[in-house]
């Protein structure tokens, strides 16, 4: 059971089919992506169900699919903790933000903040939060793309990153949000179908009895070397770090710009909330099926598959597909492997496109149009600025991924992106919508405290300092052993918001609070949908 070394022609064929579909979508969308409302928000004509699929497509990254299946294969229960956090986070989004974002916002997080705060500082702060989160998330995904394509298809890392980046930019620049949305929907359908078929194959082996799958997985996870366990503590060994990660996951989604941006693509608040419930079902189902894949990989591949699955177990799912299809060298095995590899590729493309779009909207809408041009530019100019921003951001991300190389740990980077999102974006957004006294100084201090504390804590964390092998894991300081900064940086974000507000004399934001409050709760004056597509 070796990882494919040579170029896999079957996988390339599957990849080509997927790329062809996405290019047809992009061509169709390109004729419509002219105005800012079309470019950033698909004319707000996406239905609740479509948006539920697109949210799933935006959210379920390669870290979710291959990463979590791999962690469950290697460690059992601990891999599942990520799934729970990623899912429960949608209650935070639904109860606290989704509808109010749709009612009060236009294209970006900054629109909601600047509604009642002084525009320039509020937009600069929000854009900073968006870009920091997008940078961590985007580089993580690009590295993931490079590593996976290199292993699965046999083309080298640099070329893989360039390929992914080029197609991602193609969707965003030519097709805007409409193309990105439909690429995400296509990906969600492909991913759910692929993982469902695989699960049926796995469950068929145990007579469709999940408990039997648990038993067989455990039987294959015995032995001194094995890290597999049906209980916690084999992967997340430091309890306080587990709590920190758990907190970052459940609050982080509510600060992810590319997810929040999706709520601007639906016609109204009703569609926004129904899209969250559709996403909950799709994402919840996905994580249940991922468990079957992870356990299936453990039961079928056993301890012997650990080495082939690579660091982090990322290749466990593709290897399982190969085995289920008939094994290495058989037509069925090669075909199933190629299809699952193709699904993983589509997964990455959809996520990175969403990220680049949200980052470019922050640059073009918040920084260029509102701050540099002070709103005097035309709508068309902003779309052009957004396309240039997307190209620049995409190029930087590709470069960073190539320079940083395959050594970067993908799930770790994504965990950090969640921590920064929860610390910088979430507190300011929540307080802007619910605290009358909240003001500009509060928002700026909160975002800066959130980003600053998260970045400082990450830079002194054990995983960054990485002691010599065998030594106890400590960071720059013996007393600090959190790998995920959330437990400290999220309260810091809130603290910054409160301190900044109370220590400044600015009170004007209270007057405009009434308008934002009524708008966000009732939808009065909300951005309307453009004509149907």
């Amino acid at each position: 059971m070796t990882v494919l070394a040579a170029v896999n022609t079957l996988a390339i064929a599957v990849f080509s089919v997927i790329l062809a579909i996405t290019l047809v979508i992009t061509y169709w969308a390109s004729k419509r992506a002219r105005s800012t409302s079309e470019f950033y928000a698909a004319g707000r004509g996406i239905t609740g169900f479509q948006n539920g699929l697109a949210i799933s497509g935006d959210y379920l990254s390669a870290a979710s699919f291959l990463g979590i299946a791999g962690l469950i294969f290697l460690f059992g229960f601990d891999g599942f903790i990520y799934s729970i956090g990623f899912l429960v986070a949608f209650l935070t989004v639904m109860f606290l933000l989704a509808e109010r974002m749709r009612n009060a916002g236009k294209f970006t997080i900054a629109d909601v903040l600047s509604f009642r705060l002084r525009e320039r500082p509020a937009r600069v702060a929000a854009a900073l939060g968006t870009l920091t989160v997008a940078a961590f998330y985007l580089i993580a995904q690009m590295v993931g793309a490079g590593v996976l394509i290199e292993k699965l298809v046999g083309i080298n890392f640099t070329l893989s990153v360039l390929l992914t980046g080029t197609f991602m930019l193609c969707y965003v620049v030519f097709g805007g949000m409409l193309a990105t949305t439909w690429v995400q929907i296509t990906k969600a359908v492909l991913l759910m179908t692929g993982i469902f078929v695989m699960s049926v194959f796995v469950l068929e082996r145990v007579g469709f009895n999940p408990i039997e799958l648990f038993n067989q997985a455990e039987a294959q996870g015995q032995g001194k070397e094995s890290t597999f366990s049906l209980g916690p503590g084999t992967f997340l060994k430091n309890p306080i770090d587990t709590v920190s990660l758990g907190l970052a996951l459940v609050l982080g989604t509510a600060g992810l710009p590319h997810i929040l941006m999706r709520f601007f693509t639906v016609p109204d608040a009703k569609a926004a909330r129904s899209s969250v419930v559709y996403a909950m079902f799709i994402i919840g189902g996905f994580y249940i099926l991922t468990t079957f894949i992870g356990f299936g990989a453990r039961a079928v591949l056993g301890e012997g598959g650990v080495e082939a699955a690579g660091k982090g177990g990322n290749l466990a799912a593709p290897l399982l597909a190969q085995e289920l299809g008939g094994g290495e060298g058989t037509t069925g095995g090669d075909l199933f492997l190629a299809v699952i590899a193709g699904v993983a590729f589509a997964t990455i493309l959809a996520v990175v496109a969403g990220l680049v779009l949200s980052a470019s909207s922050a640059v073009a809408h918040d920084v260029w149009s509102s701050i540099i041009r002070k709103g005097q530019n035309s709508d068309r100019e902003e779309v052009i600025a957004a396309k240039i921003a997307a190209l620049t951001i995409g190029a930087i991300a590709m470069l960073a991924a190539i320079v940083g190389g395959s050594g970067l740990n993908v799930s770790f980077m994504v965990g950090l992106a969640f921590a920064i999102a929860a610390s910088a974006n979430f507190p300011a957004l929540l307080l802007a919508l619910s605290w009358p006294r909240f003001n500009t100084a509060g928002a700026v201090t909160g975002v800066l405290f959130g980003i600053g504390s998260a970045l400082v804590l990450i830079s002194i964390s054990p995983i960054v300092w990485g002691g010599p092998p065998g030594a106890p894991d400590t960071g720059a300081f013996a007393w600090y052993d959190l790998n995920n900064p959330g437990l400290i940086s999220i309260p810091m974000g809130f603290l910054g918001c409160v301190l900044g507000t109370l220590l400044s004399k600015e009170r004007g934001a209270e007057r405009s609070f009434h308008e934002l409050y009524v708008r966000s709760e009732t939808g009065l004056g909300a951005e309307k949908a453009a004509a149907k597509h």
Binding site: K31, R34, S35, T36, S37, E38, G43, F77, F80, I81, I84, L87, V88, L91, M94, F95, L96, E99, N103, F115, L117, E119, A122, I211, E212, F214, N215, E218, S229, G231, G233, I240, T242, V243, G246, L247, V250, D268, K270, R273, V277, F281, Y287, S369, K374, G375, Q376, N377, S378, D379, H514, V518, E521, T522, G523, L524, G525, A526, K528, A530
Partner: protein, 138 residues
């Protein structure tokens, strides 16, 4: 494609968001004080606030157990099924149940209340939630 967005500078509309914006014809504070709006806030809050406390509490309890009660979470309920997995499944259940409960309440209670809250203060034409922000001054 329909040109629904004006190509003129959008400065006014956006600047109006922040500085001393003319409240236009809509009296936001009056809407805010209206019994319908207060009822909307009360009804929504009476679900969302306890709901948020409950789901965050139950989720963090699960995380704390995972972190600090490894032996308890590893105990067997039935063969390979451990306490940890049973509790994890309750998290899935919680998400779906709370999600659907909120959706139903929002459709049946909050939306009609919101419509009534804004209908009292604006004429029929403007009552549809489609006004102001992007409109060019006439």
């Amino acid at each position: 494609m329909e040109e629904e967005e004006p190509l003129a500078p959008r400065g006014e509309a956006q600047a109006a968001h922040t500085e001393d914006r003319p409240a236009g014809e809509i009296d936001w504070q009056a809407i805010e004080r209206s019994p319908e709006f207060q009822e909307l806030i009360r009804r929504r809050r009476s679900f969302v606030l306890p709901g948020t406390i409950f789901f965050l509490g139950w989720y963090m309890a699960f995380i704390l157990l995972t972190a600090y009660a490894v032996d308890f979470m590893s105990e067997r309920v039935y063969q390979g099924l451990t306490v940890g997995y049973v509790l994890a499944l309750t998290q899935f259940l919680m998400v779906l149940v709370l999600g659907i409960m909120y959706l139903r309440r929002a459709d049946k209670v909050y939306d009609p209340l919101a419509r009534r809250a804004i209908a009292r203060f604006v004429d029929d034409d403007a009552a549809k939630p489609t006004t102001t922000t992007e409109e060019t001054p006439r």
